[in-house]
């Protein structure tokens, strides 16, 4: 943990050296996520409802997805950009150091410009929450924190699939973007508006529904399942399980790693 905080502090310091460039990049991210927010707003102003969801409920889902995804990109840059490590042959030097491998990868990079996307996501949550009448309790706030944390782990797990692919093919593998960025675009809407196959995919295979939609739907007072409320604190753990599983897969890939050399 101390190693992690130290690395992140140093990376933050180095990013702050180019303040105006960083500022521009943060603004670019605000425009990017703002564009998506605009798109959702335009759609909702035309259609008002999606299935049984009201406009502001959709906005809430959008906010949770965007902010947790942005946080993953912020802290998980090392995993998301893992291809660079292998491609440049830098992974070898990590293998030599006496620190946990995955921890080193995560701590190697930070992507501070994602603060912009995250801010837009949080703004969407705040706007939606202020329009909706949610009976807030301590439990619900804690649950929301758990949802964000577990969704981050799930997303990180998805990025790790891409990272594992790097061991086998050094060239870029855009196709896996379908899982990560496709997952974000799809699951910023609650899964139950989509046809069955897609819903099942994002409930059990890449469990965004378990992690995010089910508990959030309960927080909004529109439960998607007949589970008793206690269960909503359990289902997000699917994200943790997914992450641990992908960690095993990644380490399995590491054993098959051959250096590209320098």
């Amino acid at each position: 943990m101390r190693y992690m905080f130290h690395s992140f502090r140093m990376l933050m310091k180095s990013a702050m050296q180019y303040r105006s460039s960083l500022l521009m990049q943060v603004i670019a991210q605000v425009v990017l996520t703002g564009g998506e927010l605009l798109a959702v707003t335009v759609l909702l102003s035309r259609f008002h409802v999606v299935g049984h969801w009201q406009a502001m409920e959709i906005m809430f889902f959008f906010g949770v997805m965007q902010s947790s995804f942005a946080l993953t990109e912020l802290f998980g840059r090392g995993v998301a950009a893992f291809q660079g490590f292998v491609g440049r042959g830098e992974f070898d030097s990590l293998l030599l150091r006496p620190r946990p491998l995955l921890l080193q990868v995560v701590c190697s990079q930070l992507d501070p410009r994602r603060v912009g996307s995250c801010a837009v996501g949080v703004a969407a949550i705040v706007i939606a929450a202020s329009r909706l009448e949610i009976a807030w309790t301590v439990g619900k706030v804690l649950l929301l924190a758990e949802v964000v944390l577990c969704s981050m782990l799930l997303t990180l797990g998805l990025f790790m699939i891409e990272a594992t692919m790097c061991f086998f093919s050094v060239k870029s593998i855009e196709m896996v973007n379908v899982l990560t960025y496709g997952g974000r675009s799809t699951c910023q809407y609650p899964v139950d508006i989509f046809p069955k196959p897609l819903e099942l995919l994002f409930t059990y295979l890449a469990p965004f529904a378990l992690c995010m939609h089910w508990p959030v739907a309960w927080v909004l007072g529109q439960p998607m399942t007949a589970l008793s409320p206690g269960w909503y604190f359990v289902t997000p753990l699917a994200g943790l399980v997914f992450f641990l599983l992908m960690t095993r897969v990644w380490y399995w890939g590491v054993r098959r790693y051959r250096s590209t050399g320098t």
């Binding site: 521009m24 990049q25 798109a39 335009v42 855009e174 496709g182 675009s185 989509f194 046809p195």
Partner: protein, 269 residues
Amino acid sequence: MRQLMTKWRPYLTVFRLRALQETQYRAAALGGLVTQVFFGLVYIFLYTALYAGSDPQALRDTITYVWIQQMFFRMMFSNDGELTNLIMSGGVAYMLVRPIDQHRFWVCREVGGRLVGAGMRMLPMLLVQLLLPVELRISLPDSPVALLQFVLSVGLGVLCLCELTSIIDAINMKTLDRRGISAILNLTMLTFSGNVIPLTLFPDGLQTLVRYQPFAQALDASIRMYQHAAALPEWALNVGVQIAWILILRAIGRAMWARQLNNMIVQGG
């Protein structure tokens, strides 16, 4: 005629070279194909849920709109970092001594890459359509005339996008950082060209504004022709707007290029 040929030869050559080069990136094309089909399907499911059976014709039009946007996605962006590389490495000096019109040379290069790149993704995606259930498929064009208008308009759309990119390139020449202002412009382009959501779904009161802004000239204008063959006066207006924006963007781009090239600092040697 002969003189004209000689004058245009370098530009045609770079067009052809870039087009050839693009055909080498088959894996990228395949990756793009999978991604674009996936995103297309997700958007279509979303719109199906949004319309909820209320307006079948509007839904069909939206589905067609989404597919055409996905098919021509490669047209939107440059994947060519060559110019910044040249500047950073000092190779730009060689570029500058060539007796050619630099702006036109780069625009032709872009057009070549994008036309071929888009074609390589579009054709397999048309085949994919045959595998899909009818309700998820792209519709046929309104009429043969509509198809003709569409094809012509896509050609103008590519030109328009490449002129826009030349402006972004000029900004890159100054900042040497593709992630700042130029990224913002690129992202604005994505939203206001109708890729994220169809421009036809923007509020009705804003439609005039939305459809005549420069980013809409890329594909939105063409898709509208595909769906409704326009009568001559309306067609002339729409094509006229496309051409007008091309000329305006081109004038801006050329001015910016001239300025940047005059103040170019050659780095390294």
